[in-house]
Symmetry: C2
Subunit: 431 residues, 2 copies
């Protein structure tokens, strides 16, 4: 839910957009012919739809997958020329500030982060902004991105909104197809769509009998232009899982059913299963954001998110002391204790209680006591006196402890670590 | 993080503000003399700072506890007369819509939910709005609420902002006290503050030696008016925990140290430990929102949040089928399968995979397969054909399965269930 913007927050969430670009380039380097799209659903895996979409668009990505129509409309808006220039005209944005030479502070209302074009550029230069993707190459906005809606459109109002904004629903149900096709008829246009076909995920897809109906009854798609057929791998994180090959076989069968229609099949993990899994368009998400998408220990992808939790209080205990709710742990007189501005209300999972780790000066610090809603406590005994005096943050996520390690520790996956990141941090986008 | 507003969302989060009022009344009924404040930190436990603060303010609550300065400024803003009237003048708000006789749809920009005063009332009446707390009694806004900042203020800029807005920092550190006292000196004013004293929580509080210094050196508080001393119970959820009495004893000791200064001590759980724990001001949070705050099975508090997850797809499987990522479960040909618009990206914890429950028509439905980022799957075999045809949502949170039950199932506490609620739902505030 909406929360206060971190104007006075001590905890800083750094998001390295340049590394997302690099991860995108790495992914492309694995592809021979396939187009590399990007999955930026769920607010770009919690990282921020707007800056991520713009960065990837500037990087040449033209195919964006989002979860639902609301996200698709937002994606369209942030990649749309008109919107950017209208915002420039009104100057209705909070200007980002330079934090250091290469960092732009984004204590801004995200909806208004739209500086671009000539006016915006000058305005921003006056405010000493060093680099903004949109400024570097505002011409990119003349391209028209493909925005795919994974949940499709499910009502006439939705179809209208999607059609007007040139969005592409992914159809996983005959009723969705009917809505979309009828809307195309109504406005006398062929509307782009993707068919999502069941190959083994069992989640949201057309079953084979539906697919057969569509492939044999052209009336069902009289006003639809099928730009892709697609499916989704359920076990691509396990390279040798039997499901991968089974799903591939199914997809190849569907390819025969829908001749000459391009195919989108692979998520991040699928890209590493070999070229036969690539088909025409891949749609990685996890790898872009530094999440492990397969069980290989080593992946070439860079960490994107750094969380530096600010310190609310440092103290040396003057007596033995129970720590936190439930008094689950006791600290000793003389222990160095640090209370951080971060809790499960900020997405630092409560089940990291007494398990979490943090870093300062390459030294590991251990979290103690239960995670509270707005605070966590660390023992800092292994810092020197000098370090204890100077320390002003603990790295909870970053190059020393990456999103996958935090996930392991919390018994989940990196995806959930990112999508759970709270909204009270001061956010800093790099690049 | 910020996310798309659920304009086209099928999943609806209903928040019953009337029940929050009732819970507040129930809490007050346990108090003989103590004032009943409210903890509305972390965006009112994820429920929405603005509507909750206003509802409680209208109910007579005048003491609001928030985590940090950003939240305090937001709280001040939403409870401030000036803000409301200036918004009325510009009519800069999205008008809420009536969904049915007693429900106001809040597909609005939360920041703009500020209709009130005479103008606003008429405007809203024209739009057929049935009830809005602020409209019912706009006079409440002549009161001046006390807003307490649990993390205190930690820099001069922060002190300036807090002082200008009449906020009350809770001091847990001598350096915070110095900043606040110095700022008072600078502007020639005595500034209200609360001292947070260590009694056994070990988290964020002044240790005894600090308290002693303050109590004996009036220079440290020359420009501070101590409105309360406070501490925080660590084990109030366990009525017989030895810590409760120990902390109470400590608090009583501090009372002697700071004679004639009122005391705030109890959270929700503390209120049920007996009147000696109440002192002058209590600050419940959990109980207001229907969260169990003690180990008693029966609590009198009403559920506040209902999550009705919308259905993206219903299908009867045409063959045996693996379900979800990792193919952790197999469903049978003929099984009734429902895919819901809700996932861990919406705060439905991934560790509810193959454990979650939902309700429709008082029938329990079981979640199957791993929770995905944007979707979950339920088996609906125990619905009749008629029910399966008509079902359009599954209750994931509400009167049939409350926040504490979901928490138990996920291995956490109700607090984290609420603070994790995502931002993609269509939100409906009742009352």
């Amino acid at each position: 839910m909406k929360n206060s913007v971190g104007k006075f927050a001590k905890s800083v969430l750094e998001i390295n957009l340049d590394r997302i670009s690099q991860n995108y380039k790495i992914l492309k380097s694995y592809l021979r012919k396939a187009i590399c799209g990007a999955s930026i659903k769920t607010n770009a895996y919690g990282i921020g739809m707007m800056p991520v979409a713009r960065k990837l668009f500037a990087e040449g990505c033209n195919d964006f997958f989002v979860a639902n129509l609301d996200e698709a409309l937002e994606c369209k808006k942030v990649l749309s020329n008109n919107n950017i220039y209208s915002l420039n005209r009104s100057c209705d944005y909070s200007l980002p500030k330079v934090v250091n030479d290469s960092v732009i502070s984004l204590n801004y209302n995200e909806q208004n982060f739209s500086a671009s074009g000539e006016d915006g550029y000058e305005k921003l230069q006056n405010e000493q902004v060093i680099s903004i993707t949109e400024v570097i190459d505002s011409k990119i906005y003349s391209r028209n991105p493909n925005i795919y809606i994974l949940h499709g459109v499910n009502c006439i109002d939705g179809a209208k909104a999607a059609a007007e904004m040139g969005l592409t629903p992914i159809i996983s149900d005959l009723s969705q197809l009917e809505i979309w096709n009828n809307y195309g008829k109504k406005i006398g246009k062929k509307l782009a769509a993707v068919l999502h076909l069941e190959t083994g995920m069992g989640r949201l897809a057309l079953q084979k009998s539906d697919a057969l109906q569509i492939s044999t009854n052209s009336e069902l798609i009289s006003n639809v232009e099928l730009t892709y057929i697609m499916s989704h791998l359920s076990c691509s994180d396990e390279i040798n899982h039997v499901m991968n090959k089974e799903q591939l076989n199914e997809m190849q069968e569907y390819q025969k059913m829908f001749k000459n229609i391009p195919v989108s099949f692979s998520n991040s993990g699928g890209i590493f299963l070999g070229e036969e899994y690539h088909f025409d368009l891949v749609r990685p998400g996890a790898a872009l954001f530094g999440i492990h998408s397969c069980h290989q220990k080593q992946t070439p992808f860079l960490q994107v998110v750094t969380l530096k939790a600010g310190i609310l209080q440092k103290k040396i205990l003057e007596k033995d002391q129970a720590i936190g709710y439930g008094a689950t742990v006791s600290a000793k007189r003389g222990d160095k204790i640090i209370t951080l501005e971060c809790g499960y209300g900020d997405g630092y999972f409560r089940n990291l209680s007494n398990l979490g780790k943090g870093y300062y000066n390459n030294k590991e610090l251990r979290q103690i006591g239960r995670v509270s809603m707005d605070m966590i406590i660390f023992n800092a005994n292994n810092l020197t006196e000098e370090e204890f005096n100077e320390i002003n943050y603990v790295e909870l996520l970053g190059d020393n402890i990456n999103v996958n390690e935090v996930a392991n520790c919390a018994g989940t996956i990196g995806y959930e670590v990112l999508t759970s990141l709270g909204s009270r941090y001061k956010k800093v986008y790099i690049g």
